[in-house]
């Protein structure tokens, strides 16, 4: 009986399930573009699954399926009933169900990416859903955003500042953004991207790759670490 309860968390791979990576951030900052980029660069070497959380219907999932970056069957969409942050933070049941469905159908997987619906700066992933999370900002909101902080900016395992190609157009100073972010992030990494110019998001892909390797390594040695609550 006890084992069955544990099964609720462990998916197909007996040596630990896939790393669950949350990608959050404000509307239009480039989350879906980043997911697509990661699928492009990691797809050949990793077994992937993607869960999208759209505000309306399944647009992001459709976009990714059309982009042809991943087997469409490996992309599941979750509907969030007007409250995207609820689905990744307060009531993660539907997202967990989607993640585990992917692991059941296609497992073992190395990485499951969960893209949140675009939301405000306070929206972060519950640790019950995501083992690690990336927060995606873009420069078009101005260079003051990192200074304003919020849990997404301060706590995310990786902060991505996207659309650097637009910085000159909107008058955003990247060095200011970099300095402010460093000040509130306590040494956690910040990466600047232009997904328009780098469609494979090399720097982010590298960061994710090392994450997945660490995750696998840790799980191979310590099965206990497979529960999300122990990941921090």
């Amino acid at each position: 009986m006890g084992a069955q309860h544990d099964d609720l968390h462990d998916a197909a791979d007996p040596h630990g399930r896939a790393l669950r990576l949350g990608i959050g951030g404000p509307v239009g900052s480039g989350k879906t573009a980043l997911v697509a980029a990661l699928c492009r660069s990691l797809g050949p070497s990793m077994r992937l699954g993607v869960v999208t959380n759209d505000i309306y219907t399944t647009e992001d999932a459709e976009f990714l399926r059309r982009a042809g970056v991943l087997d469409p069957e490996r992309i599941l969409a979750v509907q969030t009933g007007c409250c995207p942050h609820t689905a990744i933070r307060d009531d993660i049941a539907a997202n967990l169900d989607a993640v585990e469905t992917l692991e059941e159908r296609f497992g073992p997987l190395d990485l499951v990416i969960v893209e949140s619906g675009g939301d405000n700066l306070t929206a972060t992933f519950s640790r019950g859903l995501a083992d690690r999370q990336i927060f995606v900002l873009d420069v078009s909101g101005g260079d003051k955003v990192p200074r304003k902080g919020g849990p997404g900016v301060t706590m995310a395992d990786l902060l991505v500042v996207n659309k650097t190609d637009l910085a000159p157009l909107v008058g955003a100073d990247l060095t200011v953004m970099s300095r402010d972010a460093a000040a509130v992030r306590d040494g956690r990494p910040v990466l600047f991207t232009s997904l328009r110019e780098d469609r494979s998001a090399h720097s982010v892909a590298e960061w994710v790759t090392s994450l997945v390797n660490t995750w696998k390594h840790a799980n191979a040695h310590d099965h206990e670490r497979t529960t999300p609550t122990t990941a921090a």
Binding site: M1, Q4, H5, L8, I55, Y56, T57, V78, Q79, T80, G81, C82, C83, T86, A87, D90, D91, I92, A93, A94, L96, D97
Partner: protein, 316 residues
């Protein structure tokens, strides 16, 4: 009524001190079980303009409670009763009881009495038969699956494990709710109350979000429904014992009494349905066929229309 249900096989339920608090946890919209993403047809009704403000929302909620709400309440009560009865005897007397009220035919699988999963499948099939709309069945199963996943971590029990195994694609929501309620220490009345309550609070919240209604006005509507919620929960439990007491005190959903317990049932060799004699009535689960089946044709149309809408916010 509560005492009636609590008596006999369900004994012990009323003694458990956890029931009331557990009911609050179960019915709370913050229970992390995926309910927040379901509007119960309200989103489509808003889109079609049949809910535009508090007045038609009130009528929507009242009608929903009298139909889908009553049915889910009765199914939840039945599931809670089943869970309680089988909790200590996973392979207990239930399966045999099942054979009593029914012919030894292929469909009910009587004779597989030892399998604790069997009565759950049968109860789940009763929910299927009361849900003509495939969109609503799907929404119900998804919510049931999510609730079960959550409940198994909060209130772990063999019964919930059995249910998960019995209906791997996801038990209907009221079935999962009743089983979860039992595991949390609730009695069938409380399970019915939770189901009835959820059947209106979900759509009410959705309407607040979608129409920007004054949340206080909408909560006032819900408060006005309190007597109807009580009635529904009572009627749901009453229906569990209707077959024991023909023409008993059930208010709603009691049509089957007059119609099936005299006349037809004796006159012909009916293979199914509510038992017509006292012996069968004693069998637990034999009352399931006669549970309320109140249908709402408009909800069916709304649920199916919702699926066809490419620009929706809610799952259902």
């Amino acid at each position: 009524m509560r005492q009636d249900i609590g008596d006999g096989r369900g004994d012990g339920m009323r003694d458990k001190p956890t029931g009331d608090a557990a009911l609050l946890l179960l019915a709370d919209s913050r229970l992390p079980a995926g309910g927040h993403a379901h509007s119960g047809g309200a989103e489509e009704a808003v889109r079609l303009g049949t809910i535009t403000g508090p007045e038609d929302l009130a009528r929507f909620l009242r009608g929903r409670l009298a139909t889908a709400g009553l049915v889910t309440a009765a199914l939840a009560a039945a599931a809670c009763e089943l869970a309680t009865a089988t909790a200590d005897h996973p392979a207990g007397p239930y399966g045999q009881a099942d054979g009593d009220g029914n012919p030894p035919d292929a469909g009910t699988g009587a004779g597989t009495g030892a399998d604790p999963a069997h009565p759950w499948r049968r109860l789940d099939a009763e929910a299927d038969a009361r849900t003509a709309s495939p969109a609503q069945r799907e929404a119900s199963r998804v919510q049931g699956r999510l609730l079960l996943r959550t409940a198994r971590r909060i209130w772990p029990s063999t019964v919930l494990d059995t249910l998960a195994r019995a209906v791997p694609e996801g038990a209907h929501h009221p079935i999962a709710l009743g089983a979860a309620a039992a595991s949390a220490g609730c009695d069938p009345y409380q399970a019915a109350m939770a189901a009835a309550y959820i059947s209106v609070t979900g759509p009410a919240t959705a309407a607040v979000r979608l129409l920007g209604l004054d949340p206080v006005t909408v909560h006032r509507l819900l408060a006005d429904l309190a007597p109807a919620l009580n009635d529904a929960a009572h009627a749901a439990c009453a229906s569990l014992i209707d077959d024991v007491v023909p023409n008993g005190p059930a208010q709603n959903g009691a049509i089957q009494n007059g119609a099936t317990h005299d006349g037809i049932a004796q006159n012909s060799a009916i293979q199914n349905g509510a038992p017509a004699n006292g012996a069968a009535a004693k069998a637990r689960g034999s009352g399931w066929p006669a549970l309320p089946g109140h249908t709402a044709p408009a909800l069916d149309l709304l649920a199916e229309g919702h699926l066809n809408n490419p620009m929706k916010l809610f799952v259902s």
